[in-house]
């Protein structure tokens, strides 16, 4: 590894000096920091520090990005396993309502190692198929780790066990909110963008309106939607039957849909107007009808730009869907806001960590898809 990324070795090397874990007598009690030695015991802690030092040295001398990626991934695995193992040893012989969470040292080391991994992966320039395989591998490894029980004594996993049914239910509504509103926005936004390329006059006003929508804070938009959706629910039995209410999933879905429109419409317009003039002229000159030109030339060539918007919107929606929990829309945000209410940090993590993982995996998959588009379309 070379360049400025080596600066990350410093926090990684110093992380053992920070508390590795936080011990609480119960889930909302004040946390007490525990050092690496206190968490793991002197012998294992020395081993862990030696392994960390070895990992940093190996990273420093790793010539090929693939080796760097492998070492960084191994470091991440080691850090997570150490936290799980440390939690088990701290929990040994204390009452079951006690909790152990990862401490500052854990987070610093984890973030530094993750950034090193991302950098190494970026330098590898993997082909799209390999990228998809790496995402699949990471998901499988994560699932294996979580189901193995190695982390079961960590507080966040205890929160999960107490709410496993709710976790999957909220996960499903999170996915529905994020992906459903995305799909609706694609279905509406791409045709709207195509229509705008043919009506230059309407383009400015429509894009202006969408930009204005984008500037409304999400809470305000929820509030603005409560009245019309509540009216619909009260006056249209069909709408009521569909589950439309003034609060709940419907306004969150509509808000995410509205926020998604601007990137999709704007990029569809940019992608199609960006098709080189010589190409559209040749398509017309060859005798393609308007429809044939649209489907065989304009849209395929605009696709990388449109998919870039899709990636932005999906990641944005996965994050913003959390806020929907405030108006009863469900999703992982439910745990975040419950956790804030109860000052239970680990419950917040139970909502936040899957959201981050979902957004990262989605972003990586979309990047790979963009790379898979054929030929000079890239």
């Amino acid at each position: 590894m070379r360049g400025g990324i080596r600066l990350l070795f410093l926090p990684l090397a110093l992380s053992p000096l920070l508390p590795f874990a936080v011990f609480r007598a119960n889930r909302i009690a004040q946390g007490e920091p525990r050092s690496l030695v206190e968490t793991l015991g002197a012998g294992p802690a020395a081993l862990a520090v030696a392994a960390l030092a070895g990992g940093i040295a190996a990273l420093a001398f790793a010539r090929r990005p693939a080796w760097g990626a492998a070492i960084a991934a191994a470091l991440i695995l080691g850090i997570v396993l150490a936290a799980g193992w440390g939690a088990s040893s701290l929990m040994a012989g204390v009452p079951t309502q006690a909790r152990v969470s990862p401490g500052a040292g854990f987070w610093v080391a984890l973030v530094a190692a993750a950034l090193l991994l991302i950098d190494a992966l970026a330098r590898m320039r993997p082909r799209p198929a390999l990228r998809l395989a790496l995402v699949g591998f990471a998901v499988a490894a994560g699932a294996l780790l979580l189901s193995s029980g190695a982390l079961s004594q960590l507080s966040v996993m205890q929160e999960y066990r107490n709410r496993s049914a709710a976790f999957w239910r909220e996960g499903a509504s999170h996915l529905w909110l994020a992906f459903g509103s995305f799909a609706a926005a694609m279905l509406a936004g791409v045709p709207l963008g195509i229509a705008l390329t043919r009506r230059a006059g309407a383009r400015g006003s429509v894009l202006g309106l969408l930009t204005m929508l984008q500037t409304i804070p999400s809470m305000a938009l929820f509030g603005m939607l409560i009245v019309p959706l509540g009216w619909l629910a009260a006056n249209l039995p069909a709408a009521h039957a569909l589950g439309i209410r003034g609060i709940g999933a419907a306004p969150a879905f509509v808000a995410l849909f509205l926020y998604s429109l601007l990137p999709i419409v704007a990029n569809t317009v940019a992608g199609i107007t960006g098709v080189p003039r010589s190409v559209t002229e040749a398509a017309d000159g060859m005798g393609l009808t308007r429809r044939q030109r649209l489907f065989h030339v304009d849209v395929p060539l605009a696709l990388p730009v449109i998919i870039t918007a899709a990636r932005i919107v999906l990641v944005q929606n996965i994050g913003m869907a959390t806020v929907g929990a405030l108006i009863g829309a469900g999703g992982f945000g439910t745990f975040v806001f419950q956790g804030i209410g109860q000052t239970a940090t680990d419950l917040i993590l139970l909502g936040a960590l899957p959201t981050v993982a979902l957004a990262s995996a989605t972003s990586a998959v979309m990047d790979a898809l963009i790379g898979m588009l054929p030929g000079g379309a890239r």
């Binding site: 080189p276 010589s278 190409v279 002229e281 040749a282 398509a283 017309d284 000159g285 060859m286 005798g287 393609l288 009808t289 044939q292 065989h296 030339v297 395929p300 060539l301 588009l373 054929p374 030929g375 000079g376 379309a377």
Partner: protein, 315 residues
């Protein structure tokens, strides 16, 4: 036969093409020459209705083009443009097959037609066929563009500055290819160019355009011999018009049998298709006043300096 009858195109009250009437014979190559803004591209684009005439009619083989659906009309007319306009997300082979596919040809027919065209244009179908346009050189892309235009065996080919983006060596090659292909297929070609030398080299007839009007429509030799207006003369460049004139005529026209010559010429024998300009250039360069020229029917003929100089001045 292509007929343009009083064709005009008016944009914002300005006639870009102003009452043009032209008749182009089947199987000929007509060059439309003019400076930029002369309306030559607009004129070309009115033939395949990429631009609709404000007034006047275009007829192809006696049929009014205005009543044929534009896509259907265009599929019967080849079209080549300067930046080749290849579809960047399709391979060279798929680009060439565009119109046959639109016309619903069977897949095997499309494939064999693509191979045939690529071989005719000296593109290796197995090497170049699967490549994407961004993997082609400028000359290859240009040839793929020509192959695509010819794919559905059009009887008419429109070319808008087709060689403008090529370097001089590749351009000469591409011009020679066009000449060969056009003679072989008997396609009627309309070629828009700002390069008078290119027009003289390739065209059967040249239409010189200025400000939307045709200044002169005549075979190259007549354009050189009798420029109709000062603008045509200016476009021609008067300094070397004798050489241009000589470059149009085969040297064999003024060759005499070798034996009859007063003293045999030495030096290499020029090929039988050499032009008078090439023969004169050879004399100047080698310091001789006569050269031999190959004769497919017998002994080499002989060309003298006096004969060339006489022939270089139109009566």
């Amino acid at each position: 036969m292509i007929e343009l009858r009083s064709v005009s195109k008016v944009y914002d009250g300005v006639a870009v093409v102003d009452d043009v009437t032209l008749t182009l014979e089947r199987g000929t190559l007509t060059a439309v020459v003019g400076t930029s803004g002369s309306g030559k591209s607009t004129l070309l684009r009115m033939v395949n209705r990429l631009v609709e005439p404000t007034s006047g009619q275009v007829l192809i083989d006696g049929a009014y083009t205005a009543v044929i659906a534009a896509p259907e009309l265009r599929r019967k007319i080849g079209y080549v443009i300067q930046d080749h306009g290849l579809f960047p997300h399709w391979t060279a082979a798929r680009n060439i097959g565009t119109v046959p596919v639109l016309l619903g040809w069977r897949r095997a027919d499309v494939r064999s037609r693509v191979r045939e065209l690529m071989e005719m244009l000296q593109l290796d179908p197995d090497v170049i066929g699967p490549r994407f346009p961004h993997e082609l050189s400028g000359g290859q892309a240009q040839r793929v563009g020509v192959a695509r235009a010819l794919a559905a065996r059009p009887e008419l080919l429109l070319m808008d500055e087709p060689f403008g983006a090529l370097d001089p060596v590749i351009r000469a090659q591409a011009q020679a290819d066009l000449h060969r292909v056009q003679r072989r297929l008997g396609t009627t070609v309309i070629l828009v160019t700002h390069d008078m030398a290119e027009a003289i080299r390739l065209a059967d007839r040249i239409a010189v355009m200025r400000a939307g009007r045709i200044e002169q429509f005549a075979p190259p030799a007549d354009i050189i011999a009798k420029p109709a207006t000062p603008f045509v003369a200016e476009l021609l460049g008067e300094g070397d018009r004798a050489f241009r004139y000589l470059s149009l005529k085969p040297a064999a026209d003024v060759a005499r049998p070798d034996g009859a010559a007063e003293g045999a010429a030495d030096g290499p024998v020029l090929p039988g298709h050499a032009t008078m300009a090439e023969a004169l250039s050879e004399m100047i360069w080698t310091g001789r006043d006569r050269v031999r020229i190959a004769n497919p029917d017998g002994d080499p003929g002989i060309v003298t300096r006096e004969a060339l100089i006489r022939a270089g001045r139109p009566e």
